[in-house]
Amino acid sequence: MKILTSNFQSYDKQEYAKSAILYVLSQFKPNLHKKSYGKHYLKKTTIDLFPDEQPDLFKLVSSDIEYVANKVGFTADWFSTDEYLTLWKKNFTKFLDEHAEVQESLDSFTSNSDDITEQFEIMIDSLSRLSLIMKISYDEWHQKSMAEFLDSNLPLELYNLYNLSYIEKISAIRSLVGDLMRLRSMLHLVRSDERKIKNELAKFENKTNTLSKSLTQLSRSELTLKFYLRSKNAKNLDDLFKTIPLKLDESSEKQFKLYFNSFRSDLFTFTNFVDRKYLNEDIVLNSSKSESFVDFDEKLCAIVLKHG
C-alpha cells in the first residue's frame, strides 16, 4: 500500500513562512533619536522602528536548531548544524522563488530607510503577506498533516494541537498588524510631543512583547517536538525536512510526553494572549465543510461529559 505522505511536496512551505514571521518580528526594535537639522542645528526627535544592526535570519535559524538538537540530544554521523542550515537555505530559496512577494518584502528591510512611514509599511506589508500565505495554504497544510497522522503511530491529540497552533499563529500576526496600524496612527497624532511618543511606544511594547515572547516560546517548543519526532525517524538529512511516517517506540514515550506537555502548556499560554477578536475570525478556517459531520461535535461533548 502506497504511503499517503508520499503525495506531498518535500518541504514545508508553512514552516518557512513561520520562520520568516519570527525574523520580521525580530526587526521591530523601536527607539528614539535626536537629530540635528539645517544650518542652525535644530534638534528634532525621530523614531526608528528597526534596530541599528539588522538581525541575520540564518543566524537565528542556526541558533534555534543548535538549541533544539542539543536539547533532544540528537547526534548522527550525517547531521551537523552547518549542513542542516545549508539544506534549510536551499528550501528557503525555493520558498522565496515561489513567493516573490515575500522576497520583495524581506529585501525591503535592507533598504535602511529612516522614514518612519516607510518602516511601518515594510513591517505591516511583510506580516500581512506572510499571514496570508499561511491562511491560503491552510487546507493543503492540514491535508499533509493528516497524511502524516495516518502513516504514523502518534496520537490524534497531537495533531489537534498542531492545528490549533497553526490557526492561533495566523491570529496573532493579524492582531499584531492591527496593533501596528493603531500605533502608526497614534504616533502621527502625538508627533510633536516626545513624552507622549515614549508613552505610546511603551504601551505598545508592553502589549506586544508578551505576545512576541509567547509566540517565540511556542514556536520553539513546537520545533523541539517536531525535530525530536523527525530525528527519531530520519535516515538522512533530507528526512528532517520531509513529511514522512513517524513511528514512536516505547523507549521514546517518556521524552515524547515531556516535549508534548511543554508544547501543550505553551500553546495554552499563547491562546490566552491572542486577541480573541481575531482568533474568533480565524477559527472559522477550522469549520467543517461537510454536512456529514454536522452534530458530531455535540455528540462527542456528551461523551466527554459522561466518559470517566
Binding site: K2, Q143, F149, P155, E157, N160, F293, A302, V304, H307
Partner: protein, 252 residues
C-alpha cells in the same frame, strides 16, 4: 458574613466539564458563576487535579477517535487495493468493518457510542462524496475524512483552553490530616473508593483555604458525592460544597 473579595470560588470537575462540554441545561447552571462575576467581586479557582481530569477525558476521546478511524482507513485502503475511486458499493465495507468492531464493546459504553458515531459520519461522508461529478480517489477520501475529525477535536481543544484561561490554578498541595479525616469518614467511603480524585480536590481546596486565608467555596454539580454530603464535608474540613445557582447569598 465574609465579603466577596475574601472569597475564593473553587470548582470541581463536574462543573468544568459542564462549562466546556455541557448541553444548554448543564452549561446554564455552570454559567451562573460568570453571571455572578459581573455582580460581585471574587476570584475563580481550579485545582491542577480538576484540569488534569478534564484534560485526560478529552485525550481519551481523541485517542478513541484516532484509533478507530485510523484502523478503518487502513483496512479500507487494503480492501480497495488498486481500485482508485470510492463508490456507493463501499458502504458494505463500512457496515462489515463496524459490525466486527462493535462486537468488542458492550452497548451503552461510551467507546461503543463513539464507534457508532464514527460509523455514521463515515457512511454519510462516503455517500456525500461518491455523488460528486468527479469521483473522489481513495487517498483523498481518507485524508479529507481525517481532516474533518481533526477539525472537530481541535474546536473542543480550543473551547477547553479558552475556558481554562478564565481560572486561576490552585497548587496540588494537600494537608495529610485533612485527607485522613475524609478517608476515615464512613459516609464518604464510597467516594473514597470509587472517586479518589474527588477527595484529592477537596483536600486541595482546604489546603488553599489554610494558606491563602480566604474563605473557599466548592462550586459543584456533583450531587451524589458532594452536594448530598455538603453539611458533613463542611463540618469535617470547613469547606462548603454548593450548587452554583445558589452561590449568590454567600457572596453578598
Amino acid at each position: 458574613m465574609v465579603k466577596a473579595k475574601q472569597i475564593a470560588v473553587c470548582i470541581d470537575s463536574s462543573l468544568f466539564l459542564a462549562e466546556v462540554f455541557g448541553n444548554e441545561t448543564q452549561s446554564s447552571r455552570s454559567g451562573s458563576i460568570d453571571k455572578l462575576e459581573k455582580i460581585f467581586t471574587f476570584k475563580k479557582y481550579m485545582s491542577e487535579t480538576v484540569k488534569e481530569e478534564v484534560e485526560n477525558r478529552l485525550s481519551n476521546v481523541a485517542c478513541l477517535i484516532g484509533d478507530a478511524s485510523k484502523n478503518f482507513i487502513s483496512d479500507f485502503r487494503a480492501f480497495k487495493g488498486l481500485n482508485p475511486n470510492i463508490t456507493l458499493t463501499d458502504l458494505s465495507f463500512i457496515q462489515s468493518f463496524f459490525a466486527n468492531l462493535k462486537k468488542l464493546y458492550p452497548v451503552n459504553k461510551s467507546e461503543r457510542q463513539i464507534i457508532e458515531y464514527i460509523e455514521s459520519v463515515l457512511a454519510h461522508y462516503l455517500i456525500e462524496n461518491s455523488h460528486q461529478n468527479k469521483p473522489q480517489s481513495v487517498s483523498d477520501f481518507v485524508i479529507l475524512a481525517m481532516v474533518e475529525f481533526n477539525k472537530i477535536l481541535t474546536a473542543l481543544q480550543f473551547d477547553f483552553f479558552t475556558k481554562l484561561g478564565g481560572y486561576q490554578m490552585l497548587p496540588q498541595t494537600v494537608n495529610p490530616d485533612t485527607c485522613q479525616k475524609l478517608q476515615n469518614e464512613p459516609k464518604l467511603k464510597k467516594t473514597v473508593q470509587s472517586k479518589p480524585k474527588d477527595i484529592e480536590i477537596l483536600c486541595e481546596v482546604e489546603a488553599f483555604q489554610q494558606s491563602s486565608g480566604k474563605k473557599c467555596l466548592l462550586a459543584t454539580l456533583d450531587h451524589k458525592d458532594f452536594l448530598s454530603n455538603s453539611l458533613l464535608i463542611d463540618s469535617l474540613i470547613h469547606i462548603k460544597c454548593i450548587d452554583p445557582i445558589y452561590l449568590a447569598p454567600e457572596l453578598s
